[in-house]
């Protein structure tokens, strides 16, 4: 796995700060008292099996999750604050683009919403830039609905890159991509981080964890770890993040099992 380059001195205030963040859906606790910070200008990976609460956490950060409790501060504002809407780029797991518009028409529309007060030439330049960044320039005039799943994911990503947001929240952005594209996207993420963008990237592919500066490991709505990949491996005495995750899961489970057998 390739090594993560260390960025220059990190700026002090975190991009994200959560304290006892809790989300319940019906009787189920989806997020259970999460407390963590996400530093600015870094790629923070949010890892865990599907259904562990990754998407809910991301929705809470973006401000589309109803009734979160606890504290969640995003770029100095409470999550969901209207001032954050132009400062966060968000990519949902399923590509949220208009299938009956071309790639460029999709971008033009979202650019008009996001950058309404900028001149048309600026918006054009921005759509051209994001098209190139996700490597879709040759498909600019194709209908989004005719593209492959991976390509539509990248259209969705391109929309999130419009206006160069300070925080990018990407829910499984590399699903369904071939290894070359995956590598290219991770290069892009690191480029963006080097330019000062904060990235929160979820994945359930553990090998992607090694490419993150920091990791949040989530399981059943609880935080298993909040550390760098190297520190995580060292702490658990394992070679890979995947092994570390398994070790931490087993450790978390062990006391519960003992109790059950005692009863």
């Amino acid at each position: 796995m390739n090594k993560v380059p260390t960025p220059p001195t990190p700026p002090p205030p975190p991009a994200l700060h959560a304290d006892a963040l809790t989300v319940t859906r019906g009787a189920r606790t989806v997020l259970d008292h999460l407390t963590f910070t996400v530093p600015k200008g870094r790629v923070t990976g949010l890892l865990g099996p599907s259904g562990c609460g990754k998407s809910t956490l991301m929705r809470a950060v973006v401000g589309t999750q109803a009734r979160p409790t606890g504290t969640l501060t995003v770029l100095g504002h409470p999550a969901g604050h209207p001032a954050l809407r132009s400062r966060i780029g968000y990519v949902t797991q399923a590509p949220s683009v208009y299938d009956d518009l071309t790639v460029r028409q999709n971008l033009d529309y979202f650019a008009a919403i996001l950058l309404a007060d900028r001149p048309t030439a600026d918006r054009r330049a921005d759509t051209t830039r994001v098209l190139a960044e996700v490597d879709l320039t040759p498909h600019a005039d194709a209908l989004a609905g005719t593209l492959s799943g991976g390509q539509r994911n990248r259209v969705s990503l391109a929309v999130a890159l419009l206006g160069t947001p300070e925080l990018l929240v990407l829910d499984e952005p590399t699903v369904g991509l071939d290894p070359v594209l995956r590598r290219d996207l991770w290069h892009l993420f690191h480029d963006l981080a080097a330019r000062g963008t904060t990235l929160l990237v979820s994945s359930h592919v553990m090998d992607e964890a090694e490419r993150c500066h920091r990791l949040l490991l989530l399981r059943d709505g609880r935080l298993l770890a909040d550390d760098t990949p190297a520190a995580l491996r060292a702490r658990t005495g394992t070679d890979t993040v995947e092994a570390a995750f398994l070790r931490l899961t087993d450790e978390g489970r062990a006391p519960a099992r003992t109790q059950e057998t005692l009863r």
Binding site: D19, A20, R25, V62, G63, T64, Q65, A66, R67, P68, T69, G70, T71, L72, H77, P78, A79, G80, H81, P82, A83, R85, S86, I88, Y90, T92, A94, P95, S96, V97, Y98, D99, D100, L101, Q105, Y109, F110, A112, I113, L114, A116, D117, L143, V159
Partner: protein, 260 residues
């Protein structure tokens, strides 16, 4: 931590109504339609075909005058109801609505954008249908055909508003289509198209008094029978427009930035 965070932050910095965003939304909706020529053709030609059919089914100028004018008010309502409910449902299901509401887009911008785009289509549809009815088919209109067009436009807005509103309660396109008979048919039966409203059972007449389509049809008939806009016409037009505005506002309330 003991503080519980307020779910809704202060509304002070909420983006106000923005003409740029509204027009961009309207242009986007029309662009989506343009990639779907079959839908455009159906929206524009079906009302014309129905009028043509109706003219020869009745085969008497008298009956066509009454029913033809009513239908000119009913078509835009039904078409826009269907198109809007499906379009908004798709917007909700595809995640684009969630994405838009996470962007600096006011709900008013989104709704006005939809209303503007479908309103434009309705104008086109009504122009074609009215022109066909008035000239080749000989619909006898005492008043100005422009007033027919105005009522048709208000009906289209009402259809858009109702479609937007019910799409919040439809979990699938199947359900959305089923809302059409549920929401539109009772109004169709009670609007005076089949029996004059004054001849109905008092209970039914009372119900028809609170349904907006009744006023749309009444307004159309006012234009057919009177040379100048009557006060009754004005009242009918205001009621239909007011209902459209009210239901649009209700529809806006169903667009939630935060969902469970």
């Amino acid at each position: 931590m003991t503080t519980t965070h307020p779910a809704t932050p202060t509304a002070t910095t909420r983006p106000a109504f923005s003409p740029t965003r509204t027009l961009a939304t309207a242009a986007r909706v029309l662009r989506q339609l343009r990639h779907d020529p079959r839908t455009i053709a159906l929206m524009l030609l079906v009302p014309c075909a129905m009028l043509l059919l109706l003219r020869y089914v009745f085969d008497s100028d008298r009956a066509f005058d009454t029913i033809g004018a009513s239908l000119l008010g009913i078509f835009p309502l039904i078409t826009m109801f269907l198109v809007t409910s499906i379009a908004t449902l798709r917007e909700r299901a595809s995640g684009t609505l969630e994405r838009l509401l996470a962007l600096p887009l006011g709900k008013a911008d989104l709704i006005a954008g939809y209303a503007l785009a479908f309103g434009a289509v309705a104008v086109l549809q009504s122009t074609l249908a009215t022109a066909l009815a008035v000239w080749p088919l000989g619909l006898d209109v005492a008043g100005s055909p422009w007033l027919l067009l105005l009522v048709a436009l208000l009906d289209a807005l009402l259809g858009t508003a109702l479609g937007l509103f019910v799409s919040a309660f439809a979990a699938s396109e199947f359900q959305a289509v089923q809302f059409m008979p549920a929401v539109i048919f009772p109004q169709l039966l009670l609007c005076g198209l089949f029996t004059p409203r004054s001849a109905m059972h008092p209970v039914l007449e009372a119900v028809s008094d609170v349904l907006p389509l009744s006023y749309a049809v009444d307004g159309m008939n006012q234009v057919v029978h009177h040379t100048d806009p009557t006060s009754a016409f004005l009242r009918d037009a205001l009621i239909v427009g007011g209902c459209a505005a009210l239901v649009l506002a209700l529809g806006a309330a169903t667009l939630r930035r935060r969902t469970p």
